[in-house]
Each structure stands twice: as C-alpha cells, then as structure tokens.
C-alpha cells in the first residue's frame, strides 16, 4: 500500500503541476500546446544545472559531509532554474501568439518540435551521447529523503503515514503540492486571478474595465511556462533518475488531457491526475503490488499481459471523458488572438 501511494504520487505530481500550468495559460486565453516542449526544456535545464553544480566546491563539501540540507537546497535551486528557463522559453509562444497574433496551435507545435531538437543537439555535444546524467551518484543517493536523513533509526517503524510520506520521498513532491495549493488560491481568491480569468472569457469586457489584456496573457503564459519547466525537471528527477534525453514520454500531452479532463478547474485536476497516476503506477509495477499484504501479487497472478495494463490509463481516461465531456466547458476566448476593435 505504501508502495502504491508513493508510486502514484510520483506520476501524479508532475502531471498535476503541468496541468495547472496549462490552466494558467488557457484561463488567460492562450492555448499552451507547448507544455510537452517546455517540460523537455525544463528537465534539461534542471539536470544540466545539477550536473554543473556538482563541480562547485560547496556542493562537493555538502555531498562528502552528507549535509542533507545543502543538497535539498541544490534540488530547490535546480527547480528554480528549470522554472526560470521554462518561463523564458515560453516567451517564444507568448510573443508569437500575443504580439504577432499567430495561430497558437502552430506556435505550440513549433515549440514542441524545437525543445527536443535543441536539447538533444546540446546533449550530444556536451555529453557525447543521447542522455545527460549526473556527473556522479544518482538521484536517490543525492536527493531522496529517507528515514536516516531525518535522524530516525534505520529500522524504526514510523507507522503507515510516516513510512509513506517521510521515507524514500523527494522534497520536490511536497513543494509542488504546496505550489499547487497556493496558485489555486491565487487564481480564485485574488484580484489578479479574477482578471486573468476574465481575459480568457471575455477580453473585450475586461479591456473596457481597464485591464491590460496583453499583460495578463503574458502573465498567464509565463506562469504556465515556469510551472511546466519545473514540472519537467521534477519528472526527470523523480521518475527518470535525474537524467535528460529530450523526452518526457508524452507527459506534457497527458497533462493537457488531464487539464481538459479536470474541466480547467484545479480541484478536478488534482483528482484527475491522481486517478491517472494510480493507473500509471499499476501499469509500471503491477507485478510487485501487494495490496492486502499477504505476500501474494494478485495482479501478476491474473496473467494479463503487461501491455494491457499499460493501455489502461488511456482507456480509462477516454471512458471517463465519454461520460463527462458533455459538461466540459473551455474558457470562451481561448485560442482567439485579442483584437481591440472586435465587437
């Protein structure tokens, strides 16, 4: 059960934060199809940052002295670097779609093509292979929080909650959850959030009340880029052992699906990504899931092919959508370049 919860969170958290990224862009009126590309770029930047910082003296000291606080600080710095560069990268999309009033679908597709190409070009030159790794050690030994990290005995039993949420976890997961909550409040309970949403529903009306639509849309896509870049790095850190190879296994597109599935609302998105993460986790580890703890692996004993389990998340999403999509409602003005003169 502990395993199930932890694995589910591992998949669900990046999805959740990137889907929220999508919400910020679309609620401001810009379709961000580039989530996948920005994730790939963010993952690369974060891994590159850690790779380079491993040369720095303070990091080497911290690693040698097992100074966990400093290492967690490094992780947070890498997340911030990925977020900043993700935001910068997303400016390409904002500029094309806000200032030049370009087709947002095409602009997003271009970014999706550009990120893996650019990243792989650089990785090949930096690392002389198709994967950029940490210089030494791996994600688990450097960044994973374990019992011993927190000062407990190796064989101490922390109870179910403790075992699940304090042992073998990443700080990044909790930062993402915290950010998710803060940003959801920002979107629904502040003046800024209300204005942002207004620009996605009826920009003409918003403009008539003195809101700068272009500025709000820039804000929306930039927040979106930062979150997606960070989500990309979190994905690379927690599920890909802190490596970047110009690929996030379609997670950006899945996040887009989760966003539509969650009806552009944060709470629904959290639920949707947990559901999706659960099935992803079943697909990845069905042979070692022991639900009731009797030492038997029920799912593996059913004898169903692994490929069927891997298909499940996608099939389930489609089925759920089939029942819910009649009610789904996209922001009204999304995808339409803002034109002051339009009635």
């Amino acid at each position: 059960m502990t395993y199930l919860v932890q694995q589910t969170l591992l998949y669900a958290i990046p999805l959740m934060i990137v889907a929220l990224a999508g919400v910020f862009a679309e609620r401001s009126g810009i379709i961000n199809l580039a989530l996948e590309g920005i994730m790939i770029f963010g993952a690369f930047i974060g891994v590159l940052f850690i790779n380079m910082m491993q040369n720095a003296a303070w990091v080497q000291e911290a690693s040698a002295a097992k100074n966990w606080v400093a290492l967690q600080g490094l992780e947070v710095l890498a997340m911030m670097a990925a977020a900043v560069m993700g935001a910068v990268f997303s400016l390409l999309l904002s500029f094309a779609s806000i200032n030049l009033r370009a087709d947002q679908t095409i602009g997003g597709t271009a970014l999706n093509l550009m990120a893996p190409a650019f990243v792989l070009f650089l990785i090949r030159i930096i690392a002389n292979q198709n994967t950029l790794q940490m210089q030494k050690g791996d994600a688990a030994s450097w960044f994973m929080i374990k019992k011993s990290t927190l000062g407990f005995e190796k064989n101490a039993d922390l109870g179910f909650l403790g075992n699940t949420f304090l042992h073998k976890v990443y700080l990044a997961t909790y930062i993402c959850i915290l950010l998710f909550i803060i940003l959801s409040i920002l979107m629904y309970k502040t003046r800024f959030g209300l204005r942002l949403r207004a620009c996605g529903e009826n920009p003409q009306a918003a403009d008539s009340l003195g809101i700068n639509v272009h500025k709000m849309r820039y804000a929306g896509t930039t927040i979106s880029g930062a979150l997606a870049g960070m989500g990309g790095f979190v994905y690379a850190l927690t599920t890909a052992n802190c490596t970047a190879n110009g690929d996030v296994a379609g997670f950006g597109f899945l996040a887009l699906a989760v966003m539509i599935f969650g009806n552009w609302k944060p709470l629904n998105i959290a639920g949707a990504s947990l559901l999706f993460g659960l099935f992803k986790c079943i697909a990845a580890g069905y042979s070692s899931i022991d639900i009731n703890g009797d030492g038997r692996f029920m799912l593996a004993e059913l004898g169903i092919s692994a490929h069927i389990y891997r298909m499940l998340p996608y099939i389930i999403t489609l089925i759920v959508l089939a029942f819910t999509s009649k009610k789904s409602r996209a922001p009204k003005a999304e995808g339409i370049p803002y034109d002051k003169g339009q009635r």
Binding site: R101, T105, L256, I315, T317, G335
Partner: protein, 437 residues
Amino acid sequence: MEKKSFFASDSFRSVLASLISILAGMAVGAVIIAIVGFKDPSLGANSVWDGIRLVFGGLFSTGRDASGSLTWGFNSANMGNMLFRATPLIMTGLSVAMAYKTGLFNIGAPGQYLMGTMVSLIVALSIPSWVVPPQIIWFLAFFAGMVAGALWGMVAGAMKAFLNINEVLACIMTNWIAANLVTFVFDITAYKNVVENTKSGYIYKTSFNNVQTAKMGLDKIFAGSQINAGILVAILFAVGVYILMDKTTLGFQLKACGSNRHASRYAGIRDRRNIVLSMGIAGALSAGGAALYNLAGNTEFFWSTYQSLPAIGFNGIPVALLALCNPIGVIFAAMFMSMLSIAGLQLSNLTAYNEYITDVIISVIVYLSAFSLFIRTLLKNVGKKPETVNANAEPAPAPAPADEETVSSAAETAPGDPGEVTAPGQEANTEEGGTEE
C-alpha cells in the same frame, strides 16, 4: 475580382512568406553551428564553415577527399534516399493537412501510422507468396493497412462527433493505446525476426515473403539508394486529395463542416458523419504512408514501441504547416524535410555536429510559419498597393473551392468551431479588419 499582377497575388505572397521562413530557419541553424563551433576550441572556424555548407547543401555532398576537404557533386544515393524518406512524410503530411482543412488537428497520425504498420506487415507476412502472387499480396497489405488506419482515425473522429471529446485529446489517447496494442500484438505473435541473429526486436522484412514495392527502374536512376515506386504512389495520393478537397462536393462539405459545424448542419450537411469521415480519410492516409514505408522490403520495424511514437507520424504536422495545408505543397514540403534530414546525416558523418540541428531548423521554420500571416502583411505593405476587399473576407462557412487564394491562405482561415481548443476560431473575421462591419 479585379486582375492583379502575379507578384501582388496572395498565393505568390504566401509562397514568398514560406521561403522567407525556410531561409530564416536555415540561418538560425547556421548561427547555432557558428556559436557552438567558435565556443569549442576543438572545432574552430573550418568546421563551422563545413557545417554551414552541409546544412545548406548536404544533398550534394559526396564525402571528403584525401586531403580532408568536402567534395560536392550529384549524389545519386542521397537523392534517391531523399525521395524514399519523403514517401511516408508526404502521406502523413497529407493526413494532417487534410484534417486541418476540415477544422480538425490530427495529432493522431502516429497512432494511425502504427496501426497501418501492424496490419500491413501482418498481411504481407502471413499470406504465403508461393500460393498468391507477391504483387497481389502487396496490394492486399497496402489496402488492409489503410483500412486499419481509417478505422483507427474514425475512433477519434467518432469521439469528437458523438461524445464531444476534443479531438486532440482523443488522438493523444488513441496514439498511446495504439503503441501498446501494436507491441502487444507483435509480442504474442510470431512475426519477430529470429533468422538474423544479429538483430533482436525487429519484425521480418517483407522481402522474406518476397513482398516488396516495385522499383520501376528508379533504382537505376538513383543508384545505391533505397528508392522505389512508393514515391509515385504518394504523389498520386497528393493529387487525389487535392481533387477530393477542391473539386468534389464531398470535399466542399468536409471543409464547410470545419468552418462552421452548426451552419453546415443548418444547410443540410450531415456534420457528424463528415467529422468521422474526415478523420477516417486522414487515418487512411497516415496508414498508407506506413504501408508504403514498411512494404518497401528493405525496411525493418522495431516492434517494442510502447514507449515512443513514430517520428514520421509527428513530422506530418510540420510538413502540413510548411505547405500551408495545400496537398500539392505537401509534396515539396516533405521533400524539403527529407532533404534536411539527409543533410543532417551528412553532418553527423562528416563533422563534429549532429543531425539534431536539422530538427532545430525545422522547428524554427514551423515557428515562423505560425505568423506567416504577419510576414505576409509586411510583404503587402512593401508593395504599397491600396487593397480594398479581399476574397478571404467572405463569411466563413463557404470558402470557394478551387480558388487559388483560398488554397494559399488555408492556414490562416483554418476553420473550426469557435471555442474549440485547436481551432483558431473566428480568425477569418478578425484578421481582415473592418471589411465586414
């Protein structure tokens, strides 16, 4: 409409805008090579110059001579391989372009491509060629593949038409389902190549069953390349799609549904059937590309594909966008893309740079083509001819078929339901300013 000179026409302007995008993309590639080359002391100016020349003229590279400098000339293998690589790209490009014209963003081409691959390979390998003539097997496999792709496309189309599921979402999901399904099927069947021990994870070449695409003498012209008659088939399909979309009632109805689904229904067009049909045709085209590629006889399919989707499917998107969704333009756009990928191979073989730079170039071109409208407006102002009413400013539902200007500006007036995620919505109204008010 008053007669305009050729250079002031919209079609000329859009071709010019595309050419500008292409040149700018290649310039960005050259700049990146220069930055990387000059920063790295082991590369230096000579390698930068070599790299830049290869980006622009990789097709005509014939390697290095004894002194180590690049040699140039007609390279039949490069030329033939370019055409061979362009074959499936033309088909997936047509698939995306055709769907885009009907207001649907077909990001599901990779899934349809995979289904086409699976079915055409199974048919080609399972009918014994000592009973049925190989040519007939080829045709059966080709059509079976296309049918499979059509059905797979229709799944996404039906979800859009009847359940109101956004087609981008349905396509993404069906892509990954297809990837797992194909792996599953090849996992439990016996088409895996076990004869050639050096290779694991591949399906038999279709030439094991004597099935391969006819060469029709093309291999004599382009000696040393993989070319076959598939390129001719793909070009025929492009012409076919052009006729279907621009010269037939069905094509008109499909496009009308894309422009405004509700208005078309009001006009008596069966909108749901048409959406399903568009996705079906698009799926068949993608799958046809897969069949042409995999039935060539000298290609191999890596069957455990559940973690990645085929790049040829996704590359249909830039091809279609570069061609402004014009079926004839798709032929040239696909050839240009495959030319770049040949240049990329030369780049990794002959210099310290690698082939991904060509992907960067393609992405820059697509990015620029996103605001080709902006470039076109700039070009318009260069001429400084007072323009009044433009044919494109007609109300949305009925873009006049067979009108050259409609074709050239398909990308900007790309129709769709207002409020759709992918559809640019009411652009047709907004971009021409106040002409309608």
